[in-house]
Structure formats: structure tokens, C-alpha cells
């Protein structure tokens, strides 16, 4: 009997255009429509429940335990992989031509990024499947065209590493956004995230998260509070020397925007635009300095404790915390001489992170009620406090 691992891809050749209803032994159902591939009509399906499945086309198969973390799911304002582990995206945007992809691919795999924004093209599947093995999410930007969306979702939804983003539109038609977002939800058996970039109204339930353009990252706190959804700042400018304000950010500014938004609980997308071969327009590798410096943020994100949330206790600096046991505070462009924290009695590892110079100074502190952390008095400092006992 056919078997497929949970969250892997089952592929079925079919005679022509059709829709297959799948049913799991538990009664759970899914629906997958065919698409026209180079080798004829195919149906793809990525089961998310282990055990016996049957399809209305007559197929029966077994779903075996997964070897991956599955697709990304929304939990309130946060994200998790389907296996329950937290997902902290760090994104770059790469909007190159299909013929530029082969050169860029190794650079992405070697980067600190675990999510890439990609434009839809006829060869988008190559990009999505290349990113599957390194576990990098492909946020696919779809044109507002029903036939294209139908074909793209039917072809790609079985890839666990895909998410959907509707292109922004200059002529807002709320009913079109709804129709297309609900069409994606109807066609996608894997229930991938759905957003619209720069949506006029990101509030309705058919959009799972916000994808915004925002230059002042302090604004993400209000967006998180008002919409109670994950906030992706998918456009805040590019490090580079381009000819527009959007493409000529100093690297310090790009880096601090990403840190500021991240510590406020959002997910901020990197972009780079040094003329001649701009990375975000299809360059073969990031040539600026921010991508390298984001390795420190990647390390911090990978070690964030489960359940970390922005807190309001420190009104003059954004702070992520699991109160009592973990704090991450970012001080941005301000040159504080020191910072004081109120903490429960205990022993703490205290890291002063110089995010621009990529250096970490660690001390271990015995705390009775407050802790004052001395700082170098320069910009772009972060403080990480972890309780050890």
C-alpha cells in the first residue's frame, strides 16, 4: 500500500480536471483539486494526520509519522510549526527572475533567514521545492487573478513550506479580497497562512495575519493590539544605495528597524538594494552588512523560550519577556548608560548584546529584587536576561 510521511507530498496522476475528497479514519476530510503539470494532470495532497486515508478517486494510503515540523500555523499573535514548536521567522525579500534563482539559492540556504518573500512566476515551484529541505518558508505573492491563484494553490499547497500573500491593489475592492482569500482557503488542504500585503483592512477573519509596509517600527505594538493577529512588517525599506528613500537605508537603520519590530513582537523583513546587483531584485547574494549581522538575532530567536510576549512594564524600551524568567530589551538609537530591571530573587545570566558590532558580554548576577545592567553608552544595544535558578 502507498504510504507517505505526515506533511510530505502525495502525488496522484489523474485523467483530467477533477477534485478528490480525502477522508481520514477519524472522519477528518480534505479536498484537493488537480492541476496541469508538464506530465499531465496531477493531484497533490499533504496529509496532516497519521493513519489510514482514502480518497474519492479510489486511492487508499497510510500516513506515517512526520520527519519535519510541518506547515506554519497561527496561534493568536504568534506562530508555530504544526508539530507545536515555536516559529520565529526572519525574512528576506528576493524578487528576481527565474534564471537568477540558481545563483541565489545557495546564498539563501547559507543565510540566517528562514523565510523568503518570492514573486509568483511560472517556475515558482522550483523555488518552493528548493527551500523545502533547508526548512525555509516561501511566502508566495499571488496576483489578484482567480485562474492563476487556483492553479498555484492546487500545484503548491502540498508543500509544507509555503504561505500565501495576495498582491496589494491600488483599486481597493473589499469583495475581491474576500473572494480570493476564501478561494485559497477552500482549495488549500494544508491550511497555509493567508495575508494581503498592505491590505486596506487586515481585520476580517479570512486574512490570518498582517503584511504591512511600515517605516516606524514602533507602530507594530498598536497593530498587534488592535488586530490580535501576527504582524509581519514585510516592507520597511532596503539597506542599500538605491535612488529612492526606500532603497537607500543606512545599514544601521535597516538593522535597528528589524530589531525594534522584532522585540515589539512583529516579524520584520530584510531587504537589500545596492545598485548593479540588488539582492532583493534578484542578486546572487547579499552584499551588504546587515544580513551577516542578523546571525546574532537568529541565535537569539532560536533560543527564545516558549510563550515569550511583549510586556508593557518598561515604557521607554520595547521588551519581550516570560515574566520572572526571561527578558529581551532593545534600546535602539538611544545611548543609555545603564538599565534597571525588577526581578524575582534568583541567579541570572545577563547578556549585553551590541547588535551592530555583533558582540556579546555575559555576566552572571545574583539578584534580590532589582538588577542594574551597565551599558557601554553606545547605540544599538540589547539586554538579554535569563534566569538560571
Amino acid at each position: 500500500m502507498t504510504s507517505v510521511a505526515r506533511w510530505d507530498v502525495l502525488e496522484l496522476p489523474v485523467a483530467g480536471p477533477t477534485g478528490v475528497h480525502f477522508r481520514h479514519a477519524s472522519g477528518a476530510t480534505a479536498y484537493a483539486e488537480s492541476f496541469q503539470s508538464e506530465d499531465g494532470w496531477l493531484v497533490r495532497f499533504s496529509p496532516d494526520l497519521e493513519g489510514e486515508w482514502s480518497g474519492s478517486s479510489g486511492i487508499e494510503f497510510t500516513c506515517t509519522p512526520g520527519t519535519s515540523r510541518g506547515p506554519v500555523r497561527r496561534f493568536g499573535t504568534a506562530l508555530r510549526w504544526a508539530d507545536g514548536t515555536p516559529y520565529h521567522p526572519l525574512t528576506t525579500s528576493w524578487f528576481g527572475r527565474p534564471d537568477q534563482w540558481a545563483a541565489a539559492r545557495p546564498a539563501i540556504a547559507a543565510s540566517p533567514f528562514n523565510r523568503v518573500r518570492l514573486a509568483f512566476s511560472e517556475t515558482i515551484e522550483d523555488q518552493v521545492s528548493d527551500l523545502l529541505t533547508p526548512g525555509i518558508v516561501a511566502d508566495v505573492i499571488l496576483p489578484l487573478d482567480e485562474a492563476t491563484i487556483r492553479a498555484a494553490v492546487n500545484r503548491l499547497s502540498a508543500y509544507r513550506n509555503v504561505t500565501w500573500c495576495l498582491s496589494p491593489t491600488s483599486t481597493p475592492q473589499a469583495t475581491d479580497v474576500r473572494r480570493l482569500a476564501e478561494l485559497i482557503a477552500e482549495l488549500d488542504p494544508s491550511h497555509h497562512l493567508i495575508s494581503m500585503h498592505e491590505a486596506i483592512d487586515p481585520g476580517p477573519p479570512w486574512l490570518t495575519h498582517l503584511s504591512v509596509r511600515l517605516e516606524n517600527l514602533r507602530g507594530v505594538s498598536a497593530l498587534r493590539r488592535d488586530y490580535a493577529k501576527p504582524v509581519f512588517v514585510d516592507a520597511c525599506g532596503h539597506e542599500g544605495n538605491g535612488t529612492t528613500p526606500d532603497t537607500s537605508l543606512r545599514p544601521e537603520e535597516m538593522l535597528t528597524r528589524i530589531w525594534e519590530g522584532t522585540v515589539r513582537g512583529a516579524y520584520v523583513t530584510h531587504g537589500e538594494w545596492y545598485v548593479d546587483t540588488p539582492w532583493s531584485a534578484g542578486g546572487s547574494r547579499p552584499t551588504g552588512v546587515v544580513a551577516q549581522r542578523l546571525r546574532l538575532l537568529r541565535e537569539v530567536l532560536d533560543e527564545l523560550p516558549d510563550g515569550v510576549e511583549p510586556i508593557d512594564d518598561y515604557r521607554d524600551a520595547p521588551t519581550l519577556a516570560v515574566p520572572g524568567s526571561y527578558y529581551l530589551q532593545y534600546l535602539g538609537e538611544h545611548q543609555f548608560p545603564d538599565r534597571t530591571f525588577s526581578l524575582p530573587e534568583g541567579v541570572y545570566d545577563v547578556d549585553v548584546l551590541d547588535v551592530w558590532n555583533h558582540s556579546v558580554r555575559r555576566t552572571r548576577e545574583n539578584v534580590t529584587d532589582t538588577l542594574t545592567v551597565r551599558l557601554p553608552g553606545t547605540q544599538y544595544q540589547a539586554i538579554q536576561i535569563r534566569r538560571t535558578s
Binding site: A174, A185, E186, L187, I200, G203, P204, P205, A228
Partner: protein
């Protein structure tokens, strides 16, 4: 089981009745069509009954599964078939283009509203009379309140208790809601939208519904949405005369509007209505905010519609003054003035709502209690409705100016008008007497034209080609 498209699926289960079930028990149902999932809040309906309501929008097989903090409500599964809509079921009303509306099946929605704030609080006989009046009237929307005013002493309110000062705002009265919902269904049967006013400023602390805590406001809205959102004729009006409630700020209204948006799986039309003291103040909510679907305006001048259309959302002047003989300026317009204001607002691409307040008749003011209509405006509004329904329109709902010109001449009495018509095939002109409700064919005109008129007020010219 089969349910009409845009109809209502109701699931009833038995669960815990101890403690405060309205607060203690989480109960949701996730409905699924193909892969699309829609999660709705269920609600406690008293006597151990828990219900969930859902309105499917796609024909075919739907399944559902419950989830709850109470084991006896958790994990119930089922299926139903969604079948084509029956006769008269055009689906919910949605925004069309920027400034207009249509039913979900694409058919025209005229948007000719009226107001009967507390008609569901009256005697059974009066409520039946209201429905009878509405059956004969041209109106397709009724603005109506959930909450009582300070001076009312009803037997039931949305909350548990009916004595001011002794109402438990952490519990609701299911019997109140069951009755209220039956009236929403009665309106649906008449093809009338129920524009539900969720708060108002006429409490003044007597009931305390105007000054609940943010958590109580949120719980109330969640309960109301769980009960009522599945009825396809429901609209949300967060407040009447929101700016007259000094207990709440703009930030509060932002939050409450966003909560309704978050709770409502269907995204029914959603707005908030300002006060004016008639001619004196005008501080509308910022309708440009994304959670607002249309502009629910109170204002006395239909000519302002042109300015408000700068905001890309339909303009509905839900209160423009009322026909009647009340002792207040908002309620003693002549039918001529009332209908004139309608024509002004609608010929500029807005919508206008009716109201009536005769204070010396067999039944009290229509705007307060419904009952019987005495004025002369409804018949003329019906005439206006038919004229506007017959205009050639573009796909975005705007009048097609290439095929149609409409000039409302207002309260002036010109002996002729000069129009600079487009060249090309001629326009056939009709003279519309909005007061006498007559349409008289005139001649054909093209290019710069002079059209003689009878020099009486309240006329309109319509040219079509």
C-alpha cells in the same frame, strides 16, 4: 439535513447550567466546506441549552465539529448539505463598488431605510401592527436598538434583570434575545435589513449599560454577535449618537468596532452613527477607518453627500430629520421637506433614511415604537425608490452618465433650465414631479439645450439614451 445558501444552521446541545454559564463555558463550532474552515462562537441559551448558529455561503457538503471547555459540548460532529437559495433569498447585503450596495446574488438593494428604535419592546399587538405597516411601506432597512432608554421600564432587557440598579450585566436574558431574534426573522421574511444599534447614549447611568467595563462591553458584543450574526439581514450599528455618550472615547469606539469585526465570521455591514442636535454639531466618526464598511451619517443636508463621497464608502444618511409634528426640530418636517432631502441626497449618489414622529395620533411616534405610519412621505419615497431602481447603472453601482442624466431641481421654481448635454445620439427627457409622483415625457435633446419647465418646485429631469 439541508440548509439554504445564506440560510441558518442551528445546533443545540445540552451542557452545564451551574455557575455562570455565560462566562464560564467556552463553546465554539468550526464549520468546513472543502478545506475552508469558519469558526463561530456558540452561546448559552438558558436551561442548560447551548446553541451555535451558522449561515453557509457555498452550496454543497458542509461538516462541523464542536470544541468546548465543557466535555459534554466538546467534539460533536455532523454534516449538512447547503442547497440553492429559495425564492426571495438574495443573500446578505454587501458593498458594491465604492458607494453602493447589492445583495450577494448580485440583485439590486435599494437601501431605503426607516427607524423604529424600540419597536420590539412594545406590546405584541403593536409589534404586529409595525410589521403590517412595514409590509405596505417602501422600506428595506429598519434601525432598531437592543438596549432600553433611561425612561423605559420593560419586562425584559438583554441583561439579566429589569430593575434599574439591580441588573446583572455579566448575565444575559435568553428570553429577551429569543424574542428579539424572532422579530429579526420577521423582518427577514419582509425582505428588510435589521440595522441593529448596539449602544446608545440615552441611558445616562440609569441602567448602567452605557458605562460598563471594557470587559463587560466585550462580553456583551461577543454574545450578541454569537446570537445574531448568522441572520443574513443583520447590520451592526455600534452606537446611535455615539458622540453624546461622554462615558466613552473615540479609542473606546475603535476598540469596540474592532471587537465586532473580530467576532463576526461573516463581516456584516458595520458602522457607527453620530448625533447633531439638528443643525448644531457635526462630529462624525472617522469613516475612513478600515473596520467601517459604510458611512452612517446624521445630518440635515442631503447636499453634503458630494463631500462625504470623498471617503470611498457608501453614504447612508440614516437620520436627516423626520416628518411629523413633534416639539423638537428633528421631528417636525413637512412631507415636502422630508422628500426633498431624500431627492437631494440620493441624486448625489448617497442614501437617505426615513423617520416619522407624529405625537397626537392613535399610536405614538413611529421612530420610537413603530406602529402606524401617518405621513405623506412614504408613498413619495416609494415613487423615488422606483425611479432610482430604474436608472441605468455601471457595474460599480454608479449611474451610467453616458446613458442617463438626472437633474433634481430642488425647492426652486425655474421656468427653464439650460443643460450642456454630450453630443451624439439624443437623450429622451422626462419631467418627474416628485410631489405629484408623475412622469411626463418631454422632447429629445442633445448638445447645449434649453428645456422649458412649469416653474413649480420639487421637479426632476431625467434624460436617457
Amino acid at each position: 439535513m439541508s440548509i439554504e445558501k445564506w440560510g441558518l444552521h442551528e445546533l443545540t446541545l445540552t451542557g452545564p447550567s451551574g455557575g455562570n454559564p455565560f462566562v464560564d463555558v467556552e463553546f465554539q463550532v468550526t464549520y468546513q466546506f472543502r478545506n475552508r474552515m469558519v469558526t463561530v462562537d456558540g452561546f448559552y441559551d438558558g436551561d442548560g441549552d447551548y446553541r451555535a448558529r451558522f449561515s453557509p455561503d457555498r452550496e454543497g457538503e458542509w461538516s462541523y465539529i464542536t470544541s468546548s471547555s465543557a466535555p459534554e459540548l466538546d467534539g460533536h460532529q455532523g454534516t449538512f448539505t447547503c442547497v440553492p437559495p429559495g425564492q426571495g433569498n438574495h443573500g446578505p447585503v454587501d458593498v458594491l463598488g465604492r458607494h453602493h450596495f447589492s445583495y450577494a446574488d448580485g440583485s439590486r438593494y435599494d437601501c431605503i431605510g426607516t427607524t423604529c428604535y424600540h419597536w420590539t419592546y412594545e406590546t405584541k399587538e403593536l409589534q404586529e401592527l409595525t410589521l403590517e405597516s412595514l409590509r405596505e411601506a417602501p422600506f428595506d432597512k429598519v434601525r432598531m436598538c437592543l438596549l432600553p432608554t433611561d425612561g423605559m421600564r420593560p419586562e425584559r432587557t438583554p441583561f439579566a434583570g429589569s430593575t434599574p440598579g439591580a441588573v446583572d450585566v455579566d448575565r444575559y436574558d435568553p428570553v429577551f434575545f429569543q424574542h428579539f431574534e424572532s422579530r429579526v426573522v420577521d423582518l427577514l421574511a419582509l425582505g428588510i435589513q435589521a440595522d441593529l444599534i448596539l449602544f446608545h447614549p440615552y441611558d445616562r447611568g440609569v441602567w448602567g449599560f452605557d458605562r460598563m467595563t471594557p470587559a463587560q462591553d466585550a462580553a456583551y458584543l461577543r454574545y450578541v454577535v454569537a446570537r445574531l450574526a448568522a441572520y443574513r439581514n443583520v447590520w451592526w450599528s455600534l452606537s446611535n449618537e455615539y458622540d453624546f455618550n461622554h462615558e466613552k472615547t473615540i479609542a473606546d469606539w475603535d476598540r469596540l468596532l474592532q471587537l465586532v469585526q473580530r467576532y463576526d465570521p461573516y463581516q456584516r455591514l458595520r458602522s457607527i452613527h453620530n448625533g447633531t442636535k439638528m443643525y448644531e454639531v457635526f462630529t462624525p466618526y472617522d469613516f475612513g477607518k478600515p473596520w467601517i464598511t459604510h458611512q452612517s451619517v446624521q445630518h440635515w443636508d442631503g447636499a453634503e453627500v458630494a463631500a462625504w463621497r470623498e471617503c470611498p464608502k457608501p453614504v447612508v444618511i440614516d437620520e436627516i430629520g423626520y416628518e411629523g409634528n413633534a416639539g423638537r426640530r428633528w421631528g417636525n418636517l413637512t412631507a415636502d421637506e422630508m422628500v426633498h432631502r431624500f431627492w437631494q441626497g440620493m441624486s448625489l449618489g448617497g442614501y437617505v433614511g426615513h423617520g416619522e414622529s407624529f405625537v397626537d395620533r392613535e399610536t405614538r411616534a413611529w421612530i420610537s415604537i413603530g406602529g402606524r405610519l401617518y405621513g405623506d412621505s412614504p408613498e413619495r419615497i416609494d415613487f423615488l425608490r422606483a425611479v432610482f431602481a430604474g436608472l441605468p447603472r455601471q457595474s460599480d453601482g454608479e449611474v451610467d452618465t453616458d446613458r442617463c442624466v438626472l437633474h433634481y431641481l430642488g425647492d426652486r421654481q425655474p421656468s427653464a433650465v439650460e443643460l450642456d448635454l454630450p453630443d451624439g445620439s439624443p437623450f429622451h427627457f422626462d419631467l418627474i414631479d416628485t410631489r405629484a409622483m408623475t412622469i411626463t415625457p418631454l422632447a429629445e435633446y442633445t448638445g447645449p439645450s434649453r428645456i422649458p419647465l412649469p416653474a413649480t418646485p420639487y421637479l426632476a429631469l431625467r434624460g436617457t439614451r
